[in-house]
């Protein structure tokens, strides 16, 4: 693939804020592609697991037989980004109402770690966050937390000391919603790691 070619970014379209991710992907100059079948994965350079309800999305992955194809996608070295519910699905294990996960980020995801919707909030990323992410406005909606990170997992941004954006190889997990609002830095990072 030549560098000038427009990249195609898949969005898992079982349930969730697929449309918001599609807009963010278009803002960074790529083409969003809804993914519901294993064959759709062959047509994309990177994949987003959107925000939504992780239980609902997990049931869909099971019904559609997509767990193994998604693990293989991760192993193929193509980049992945999971936000909120997507981050839960990328983790090694989910706690507090467990769901089956993909194990592509070596960390524990604690679901609804901040509480119910009345505890949802927005906050800037801590000043010591990695290059370019300090001060990034992060919107948390019934958000999970990532804990027990293995040394392979790099923390790119924190809020109040808790990791909110992490990377392992070409897999990014984000406990907030970079797709809400118009800041495209996280999606640019995803696209930037397409080989």
């Amino acid at each position: 693939m030549t560098p000038s070619e427009v990249k195609r970014v898949g969005i898992l379209a079982i349930q969730g804020d697929v449309e918001a991710h599609a807009a963010a992907i278009e803002r960074v100059g790529a083409v969003p592609v809804p993914v519901l079948r294993e064959k759709h994965l062959d047509e994309v350079d990177a994949l987003v697991l959107p925000g939504g309800e992780s239980t609902t999305i997990a049931k869909g992955l099971e019904r559609l037989g997509l767990y193994e194809p998604l693990r293989a996608f991760g192993d193929s070295g193509r980049p992945l980004l999971g936000t909120c519910a997507g981050a839960i699905l990328l983790s090694r294990v989910a706690e507090n109402h467990p769901v089956e996960t993909l194990g592509l980020i070596d960390a524990v995801a604690v679901r609804n770690a901040y509480g119910t919707q009345v505890d949802s909030f927005a906050a800037p990323a801590d000043a010591d966050s990695a290059n370019g992410f300090a001060g990034l406005r992060c919107v948390f909606i019934r958000a999970p937390q990532l804990r027990d990170l293995s040394p392979e997992v790099e923390v790119l941004a924190r809020v109040d000391g808790a990791p909110v954006l992490v990377r392992q190889g070409r897999v990014l997990a984000c406990t907030f919603h970079p797709e809400l609002g118009d800041d495209s830095r996280v999606h640019a990072l995803l696209l930037g790691s397409v080989a």
């Binding site: 379209a13 079982i14 349930q15 969730g16 804020d17 697929v18 449309e19 918001a20 519901l36 925000g51 939504g52 309800e53 239980t55 609902t56 049931k59 869909g60 019904r63 909120c84 519910a85 507090n96 109402h97 679901r111 609804n112 509480g115 119910t116 919707q117 009345v118 505890d119 949802s120 909030f121 927005a122 919107v139 909606i141 019934r142 919603h177 809400l180 609002g181």
Partner: protein
């Protein structure tokens, strides 16, 4: 005590607080929200893939049958349902019942439905939803009603349809009406927006938003009369971004199968072969009501102003 304090000290909604409310509505897109009356039903809904549950004492078809005053559900029932599932829990308040809304906010309910399915507490005014930290969803039949509710602070709009009827015709009417009204506004010239706002009884800034963006400023879901997987797919085909199912699941022969089937049809609404597969072997749907047999006074969708 003044109205200002009605929302548990959250005060007026800032743009940021409103964004967080709408954020949860965004996360529910592409989902099915199911009415449940017990923790066991909530579990069945979650296991079937519901994106949220609506906790209520009686499903709309029973409210319709029993008559009398329908109120917010018992607190203990809502709490038991909150404990039983990890997905968001919604609950209904009577139109204009500020204190029922306060109670649900204290309970930490994820979304409050100010609903025409319950007996209205105020026959002229809806709740000032900006004053609350909890997000609200409200029903509508047309764009003017939708924008009035959003003007009051609703973070999600759904069609009213005709709850408890098992008949999709009203939801279809309301979806077509809202989307037709939106298309008509897009065709207007800027200087025509004020007169249209007056005609719709809607805030002009929201009419301007619709003119510029061709959509509501909050997610637009369907409700009222969904009984089959094909009904859910029809709502999505007509532009609804998610679907509420009330009596349609737990008043059918086989709620587990029907719940799974409606979730499947909703995910794959663009693929008729999938909707067909979801429609097989479900047993009988809930019994439906022909609209002509419902007197105007019996129509729940006429409540709200």
């Amino acid at each position: 005590m003044t109205q200002k304090k009605s929302g548990n000290g959250a005060g007026r909604t800032t743009a940021e607080a409103f964004e967080i409310k709408v954020g949860l509505a965004e996360m529910l897109k592409g989902g099915v929200i199911m009415d449940v009356t017990t923790p066991e039903q909530a579990k069945i809904a979650e296991d079937a893939g519901a994106a949220a549950v609506m906790a209520l004492e009686r499903v709309p078809s029973d409210i319709r049958r029993d008559g009398g005053v329908a109120r917010m559900s018992a607190v203990s029932m809502i709490e038991a349902i909150q404990k039983s599932v990890s997905i968001p829990v919604m609950a209904k308040i009577r139109i204009g019942h500020i204190v029922e809304a306060q109670l649900l906010e204290v309970l930490g309910v994820d979304f409050i439905d100010e609903s025409e399915v319950l007996t209205p507490a105020d026959d002229q005014h809806h709740v000032d939803k900006h004053a609350f930290k909890s997000p609200f969803v409200c029903g509508c039949r047309d764009l003017g009603e939708a924008l009035r509710r959003i003007g009051e602070g609703a973070a999600m709009i759904r069609t009213k349809g005709e709850a408890g009827s098992g008949n999709i015709v009203e939801a279809v009417r309301h979806l077509r009406q809202v989307n037709g009204d939106i298309r008509a506004i897009q065709a207007l010239l800027p200087e025509e927006l004020m007169a249209r706002a007056k005609q719709l009884g809607a805030p002009v800034d929201l009419v301007r938003f619709v003119h510029e963006n061709g959509r509501l400023p909050v997610p637009n879901f369907a409700a009222g009369g969904v009984a089959t997987p094909a009904d859910a797919a029809l709502c999505r085909t007509l532009g609804a971004e998610a679907v509420f199912v009330g009596s349609g699941i737990f008043k059918s022969d086989d709620p587990e199968s029907r719940a799974r089937a409606i979730v499947r049809a909703n995910t794959h609404w663009e693929d008729p072969a999938e909707v067909l597969a979801a429609s097989r072997g479900l047993g009988a749907a809930m019994p439906g009501i022909e609209m002509e047999t419902l007197a105007e006074s019996e129509r729940l969708s006429n409540r709200g102003w």
